[in-house]
């Protein structure tokens, strides 16, 4: 009984992390029509930067949350810079843009290997969240509950931002019809930079938040990127709800698959993607056919 319950909590936690990762991926795809293949790298860089801040790379040690936020901000700046300096040069050439993100992801992976070495770095659970919550006979790790809470808060905040603010309205207009958005005076190219930075920052934040659960190691980027791809193909591009539901589904399949069919976990993970591709090409909540 408690085995299943713990597995469920782990699944939802992982789903929450995936949501932080894939919400940005999905928004970037919805707006710019390209899969950002550096998204896994941003997750990893966020985590690496965070661990450096934790261990006092700045001359003083930050606490976990400050390190996560500072790391996320840096990754956001890096993402925005990459959009400005590299992708902007190739405006309108989607294929070239995808290939550039692929090239950059290899460079980032190698730079991280150079900077932080090949050994996995484990991240200590932040102060005060190392314990457990008891509910009857079941025991839940406190930190995982906190991650679920953070994901929910971010989901609501993102939803409010997209639905209730001027910036959100402009982003939605850009996703629905970029040409028309330009015609009515929205600077879509500026939105590209903002959304790219936002998505990168979210991924970097997710990387550090996921640190105590996944730890940080070379290859983390390649592990996370396909998961973001699956979430977006499942949920549909440019849809926040799609990312949310897709993340939870993938979180469950990944954790249950690893517990029950360890050898085929990765394969099982992609089955729903194949089903969606065959039966509902636009994804569960997506507007446009992928």
């Amino acid at each position: 009984m408690s085995f299943w319950l713990l597995l469920t909590v782990n699944s939802i936690t992982f789903g929450g992390l995936l949501f932080l990762l894939s919400a940005g991926f999905s928004l970037i795809f919805g707006l710019m029509r390209i899969p950002n293949l550096t998204h896994g790298s941003m997750f990893m860089v966020g985590a690496y930067l965070g661990t450096s801040f934790l261990s006092g790379a700045l001359g003083f040690t930050l606490n976990f949350w400050a390190a996560a936020i500072l790391g996320a901000l840096e990754v956001a700046v890096l993402g925005a810079l990459m959009e400005r300096l590299l992708l902007r040069r190739l405006a309108g050439q989607q294929l070239a843009q995808v290939l550039v993100t692929l090239g950059v992801s290899f460079m980032v992976a190698d730079l991280c290997l150079m900077g932080w070495g090949g050994d996995p770095i484990s991240v200590a659970t932040p102060e005060g969240l190392g314990g457990f919550v008891r509910a009857g006979s079941a025991v839940f790790p406190l930190y995982r509950m906190a991650v679920i809470g953070i994901a929910v808060v971010f989901a609501i905040a993102l939803w409010l931002m997209l639905e209730r603010t001027r910036l959100g309205a402009m982003i939605r207009a850009g996703v629905d019809d970029p040409q028309m958005a330009r015609v009515v005076g929205i600077r879509v190219s500026q939105l590209f930079t903002i959304v790219f930075g936002l998505g990168a920052g979210l991924a970097g934040f997710a990387g550090m938040i996921g640190g105590p659960i996944l730890s940080v190691y070379p290859g983390l980027d390649q592990d996370m990127l396909p998961l973001a791809l699956v979430v977006v193909i499942l949920g549909g591009t440019g849809s926040l709800l799609g990312s949310f539901v897709g993340s939870i589904i993938v979180g469950f399949i990944y954790n249950f698959g690893q517990a029950l069919l360890p050898e085929l976990a990765y394969f099982v993970l992609f089955l729903p993607m194949v089903l969606v591709l065959v039966l509902r090409p636009q994804g569960l909540f997506g507007g446009q056919v992928l």
């Binding site: 190739l90 294929l95 550039v100 396909p226 085929l264 976990a265 990765y266 065959v278 090409p281």
Partner: protein, 330 residues
Amino acid sequence: MNLKLVAVAIAVVALVVLPYVITEPYYVNIASQILLYAVFALGLNILVGYGGLVSLGHAGLSGVAAYGVAYLLAAGYGHTVAIAGGLAAGLIVTAGFAALSLRASGISFIMITLALGEIVWGLAYRWISITNGDNGITVNSRPAPFGQPLTSAVSFYNATLIVFLLAIAGCAVFVNSPFGAALAGTRDQPRRMNALGFHVWMIRFWAFMLSGLLSAVSGVLFVYYNQFISPQALALTASAEGLLMVISGGAATLLGPVVGAALVVIVKNVVSAYISRWNFMLGAIFVAIVVFMPEGLVPGTVRLVRAAWRSAHRNRSGRPAAAPIAEPKP
């Protein structure tokens, strides 16, 4: 035309005598590597260059063939069965890839092939009872076709050269065939081709199968060359390397992928002798080529030579240079 024939004859003779000129086994092995990667790049080019469909999962196809050979050999079968089984496995997986990914084109095609390639990688990595996981499978022997063992570097080079020449001749025939023209048509004008009565999906499917066959062949060569196969050969990096060969050399040209394969293999070996940062170089070359020379080395050089030729002989008109990779329509 005669000039072309002479050039081809000289190139073939040069390739045949190459191992007797350089003799050093290390360099002969690098030449074998270039040829086997060239077969892979030729296969990928059919899809990327002539079909306008950029695949990021092709290492999975050659990997399945390689694993098929290694698994059957480890199970005690002979080389003939193992090679046939490996190619068959490669083709079956190719058919699955094609069926799933060809419902899309453009960017979505990249995403789906990437995800499918990752599935195959994940299986190779995690399905330990079949693939031996990260430890990989060792292949203890090389085949001996017609009683000629391929154990030495030169004999393996010769076998690879024969396969390579067959592959490039096959590609030349394909490109100039009505089927090749139809494939290029589906790249440039899919709707018009459809209206003209061509079955766009079916043309793309068979092009994918041909591409998969060449990938599988290179996978078989790969596993016999290294006598070892591990999940690393199926990773996204390997697919990206193949794509870099096609794009750097020049997509939709016959020679481009071969030049690209030579470039990548040589840079990889030279660079890894000095620094251990091959992945960084791969990424940097990728970015530089996409940003500064999107048409690739071969068409770029051809254009320059043609321009020089034309300025020398004013009244002769050259054919336009090959088009860069088709931009997918959103």
